[in-house]
């Protein structure tokens, strides 16, 4: 027998009964601590071998670098290990349900990644002669056709780099259209109070003043208040549909008609297009401009915070003002419309927003996704996304306060408030406890119109089993918060870090590493 029958167990010297012992390294098995590259690398090591030989030649004038830059290097194995260890401290869609409301964290198909890496897309220069990049222009043209058709609009500007950049694109087109009409004096943009923060920031950047439009008790825009505010000083409205409370704005067509009659334009924030793709075309609701987050509806990866991509579809009224460049079909081939050839038929363009042509790497991914789903599959996307959200809403409405549960079905996201939690407990405690349950928390404290908002967007790529597990976890955490379970206040307990001191970070900003020994 080689089995230990003596009852001896290895113990750490500091271990006390019932406590987890400390480790020498600070690691906890697969939970690995990792130092900064500045603490493990040095200025001699490199993980890249270049050809031997001398690097003579000096046409640098007197500008050669003399002093060290201070960049640590690591060998390839150390580099791979460093970033692999860091990656394991992140939650991700690949690990589980990521119910961030308004962010549409759906599965990112790997075919998208494979296609974007075809050398014919990834290794092509933006200023290469147009005859040598016909395939790239065709990708842009095909994607543009899908986006215009799915939204029922007239044209699309592909170059905006992200959703907020797309908003800016739409608002600048509105501004240009007003100026062309000689109505540059229209200075007011109406924004519902439930809007994303980018909406007022964008309007203000373009020189508009922003006025809030209140919400009704059922979570929608107060149509009467909005109409009452229309007049000769109003440039337009920015409205999100489905809105940030997860509800469809039933009156949008009516609102659009009123805005148009009063001489304004309708900007729709398309952040939540996933809920209606293939079921509703925003063009049928009177929208003049809408950005589409390719990284939401069309599954391009969020990448830990970008890169995004925010093409903007336009109505006929705003099409002449769309930015440069764009791609046009010419008989057999495709051409770029840029500054030099815009004058012949696109002279009213408001100009260029970015160098080159936009987020091509995201266009290939989005087109791959769209072709995979097709018209029928995209419609199913919206249906399953809405079905999943309603399932979450109805499964939890008796556990958590659901302020708009009686406003009809929700769209792609379900919203709850912190009402009914024990005294001193708030949304953040529920969110942090969900981390311990192995989930990324929902969007917290947004939209502002709901107290302690918890905005849950499951997306269509979650199975029923995954939803059931999430619902069970959220129900359990919510019950504990209602009962005043003190352990929630210190959650998460099992994450790589406990709650972080954000006040300290902001009061004494440490934004770069400095050698404390120096």
């Amino acid at each position: 027998m080689t089995i230990n029958q003596s009852g001896w167990k290895p113990t750490s010297p500091e271990a006390k009964d019932g406590e987890v012992p400390a480790t020498f390294t600070g690691n906890r098995a697969l939970m690995l601590e990792e130092k900064l590259i500045f603490e493990i690398g040095d200025d001699k090591t490199t993980g890249v071998d270049f050809a031997e030989g001398d690097v003579a030649g000096s046409r640098l004038g007197d500008l050669s670098r003399k002093d060290p830059i201070g960049l640590p290097g690591l060998s390839e194995p150390e580099t791979v290990r460093h970033y692999t260890r860091l990656s394991r401290q992140n939650y991700a869609i690949d690990l589980g349900l990521f119910p961030l409301g308004s962010c549409t964290m759906k599965h990112n198909p790997r075919l998208n990644e494979k296609m974007a890496r075809l050398p014919g897309f990834s290794d092509v220069h933006p200023l290469a002669p147009v005859d040598t990049v016909q395939g790239a222009l065709e990708v842009i043209h095909q994607l543009a056709h899908w986006l215009v058709t799915l939204t029922g609009m007239t044209s699309v500007a592909m170059s905006p780099k992200a959703g907020a950049h797309g908003e800016l694109c739409g608002i600048l087109a509105i501004k240009a259209a007003l100026e062309k009409r000689g109505e540059g004096h229209r200075k007011v943009i109406l924004v519902p109070e439930s809007a994303h923060g980018t909406n007022p920031a964008t309007a203000a950047f373009a020189g508009f003043s922003v006025e809030d439009i209140p919400a009704t008790a059922d979570g929608r825009v107060d149509t009467a208040a909005l109409k009452a505010r229309l007049g000769p000083d109003v440039a337009g409205v920015m409205i999100t549909n489905p809105n940030t409370c997860g509800l469809f704005e039933r009156d949008l067509k009516d609102i659009s008609d009123a805005v148009h009659a009063a001489g304004g334009y309708v900007y729709c924030d398309g952040a939540n297009f996933n809920a209606i793709v293939g079921r509703v075309r925003p063009g049928d609701l009177g929208v003049d401009a809408m950005h589409i987050n390719l990284h939401k509806t069309f599954s391009t990866p969020h990448g830990g915070g970008g890169p995004g991509s925010g093409p903007v579809v336009f109505s006929e009224a705003l099409t002449p003002f769309a930015p440069l460049p764009f791609v046009e079909k010419t008989g057999e081939g495709f051409r770029l419309v840029e500054e030099e050839n815009a004058d012949d038929h696109h002279a009213d363009s408001f100009g260029r927003m970015v160098a080159f042509h936009g987020q091509m790497g995201m266009f290939t991914r989005a087109l791959t996704y769209i072709l995979s789903h097709g018209a029928d599959g995209l419609r199913q996307v919206a249906e399953d996304a809405v079905l999943n959200a309603n399932y979450v809403l109805r499964s939890l409405e008796n556990t958590l306060d659901a302020p708009f549960a009686k406003s009809g079905p929700c769209m792609h996201e379900a919203i709850f408030s912190d009402e009914g939690l024990a005294e001193g407990f708030s949304t953040i405690d529920v969110a942090k406890a969900l981390i311990d349950e192995g989930f990324h928390p929902m969007t917290m404290y947004f939209p502002l119109v709901v107290h302690g908002a918890m905005l849950v967007e499951p997306t269509e790529t979650e199975s029923k089993a995954a939803l059931d597990q999430f619902i069970g976890a959220l129900r359990s955490v919510a019950e504990r918060a209602k009962a005043g379970d003190a352990s929630l206040k210190t959650a998460p307990h099992f994450a790589p870090r406990a709650r972080l001191d954000e006040t300290l970070a902001a009061r004494k900003p440490v934004l770069v590493w400095k050698d404390k020994a120096a």
Binding site: I69, Y83, L118, A204, F356, N390, P509, V510
Partner: protein
């Protein structure tokens, strides 16, 4: 459609869920859509779903219609550069924990992204020679415009002087935005000479100037000491903004921050990101400490957790749109996270020694190419000094010659006619970039092809 490969719900799941919801059909969930706007079925005229194999065929056919830079002698630059990216970079950025994570708003489960951003900020600040750097911007052109806006907020003045050597797309972006913000921009087109326009800019600075924006190396590949320009700016209480579109250069030449530039922005594409027909790229932005509260974009900062362990969070967000709404420093709501990661990994692999060696090889290759190409009859080298990119005067219009060379399988460079259409004085200019990916044979092939084509044109 019973099942599509990305949609896990089965028909029986759907039925069961509808009964929990208390809805008869999925159509009942869309009752709030006005009847006139409801689509009764898939949109006509668009194809239905397709298999992975079918989609791959379609996309591959499109990709084949493009000339791949790596397949031919390749010399294009002007704001996007072809460098060798080590295999591990692309492998690491495809780890799902990086690729499929969101913005790190829940820092306890996003330390991977946050620590990476902190390292990125430090690498960028050191490379640019600034005190701090942010967590990245969309790209170089938008970062450049954001810097001009930042200078306006700091100086409370709104006249910006843009160097004629600044990338024309960057100028174009700034002009578009300035129409709406009321900034006055002084701009010009470059002259095909060895001298930069630094002296003219120094002469143009006055008490109303908010900033001077200078590209380093500039669009023609020229480089000049920025110290006198910084002094002249500061004497008139204006800021110096330096723009770096080729960060590899900073492995060989002095950093703009070291020459007292106040804000340094750049395009980080060269490291880790690849050409990708123009995007996504990664904007770099650094500045002096005293200006951080006017800087747009995200910052990652160091802090501690409740157990006293070091950790990182997004910070100083009171400048940002989700808190400040219409009073934010910018409407920007994202960075270019995954491209910043690629940049940072590539930089970590290189390290100080690797970056300097890479920069040395770039410069040596460019010197070799410049010497060889200047021997082609009718061709003159415009630059005295350059890093890995220089301008040739072909003695005749360069744009059709670039097209002809492309037909012969040589991507010779960017003609100034493409960048400055209608500017006759620039039409003969060809900007040639030479990185470590260019071989001696490539240079010889270009020289011979150029001689042939020019000979044909001459004849």
């Amino acid at each position: 459609m019973e099942r599509m490969r990305y949609l896990p719900l089965t028909s029986s799941d759907r039925a069961e869920m509808l009964s929990v919801i208390g809805a008869g059909s999925v159509d009942d969930l869309f009752v709030d859509v006005p009847e006139s706007a409801r689509l009764s079925g898939p949109i006509a005229g668009l194809p239905d779903h397709a298999s992975e194999l079918a989609v791959e065929r379609h996309m591959t056919a499109l990709a084949r219609k493009n000339t791949v830079a790596g397949d031919v002698p390749f010399f294009l630059g002007c704001g996007a550069y072809r460098h060798h990216v080590p295999a591990s970079v692309d492998h690491l950025i495809q780890r799902g924990e990086f690729l499929t994570a969101y913005t790190p708003y829940q820092p306890e489960i996003a330390q991977g992204t946050l620590q990476m951003l902190f390292e990125f900020q430090t690498q960028v600040a050191r490379l640019l020679g600034t005190d701090v750097a942010n967590a990245s911007m969309y790209d170089g052109s938008t970062a450049c415009w954001e810097a001009i806006g930042m200078a306006r907020r700091i100086t409370k003045k709104s006249k910006a002087i843009l160097s004629s050597g600044l990338h024309p797309h960057y100028v174009s972006v700034a002009k578009t935005m300035a129409k709406y913000t009321g900034d006055t921009l002084e701009t010009g087109t470059p002259v095909l000479t060895a001298e930069t326009d630094i002296d003219q800019m120094i002469a143009a600075i006055d008490g109303d100037t908010s900033c001077v924006v200078v590209q380093y190396p500039d669009i023609l590949g020229r480089i000049a000491d920025l110290t006198p320009l910084a002094e002249a700016c500061h004497a008139k209480k204006a800021l110096l903004i330096a723009v770096v579109t080729e960060p590899v250069a900073l492995g060989a030449i002095r950093a703009p921050g070291e020459m007292d530039a106040d804000i340094v922005v750049g395009e980080g594409q060269s490291l880790g990101v690849g050409l990708q027909f123009g995007g996504p790229y990664v904007g770099l932005m650094g500045c002096k400490d005293k200006y951080i509260r006017q800087m747009p974009g995200r910052f990652c900062g160091e802090t501690v957790d409740a157990d006293g362990k070091r950790g990182f969070v997004l910070t100083l967000s009171t400048r940002e749109q989700h808190i400040r709404r219409e009073k934010a420093t910018s409407n920007i709501c994202t960075n270019s996270g995954l491209c910043a990661l690629a940049f940072s990994i590539h930089m970590t692999l290189l390290g100080e020694a690797g970056l300097r060696r890479m920069a040395g090889i770039n410069h040596a290759n460019a010197c070799r190419a410049a010497d060889r190409l200047a021997k082609v009859p009718g061709v003159k080298l415009v630059n005295d000094v350059f890093f890995n990119e220089f301008t040739l005067d072909l003695g005749r219009e360069a744009r059709p010659i670039v097209r002809t060379l492309a037909e012969r399988g040589v991507l010779a460079g960017v003609s100034l006619g493409r960048l400055y259409p209608g500017e006759d004085a620039l039409a003969n200019g060809l900007v040639v970039a030479v990185t470590e990916t260019v071989t001696a044979e490539d240079i010889e092939t270009l020289a011979k092809a150029l001689a042939e084509v020019l000979g044909e044109v001459l004849a």
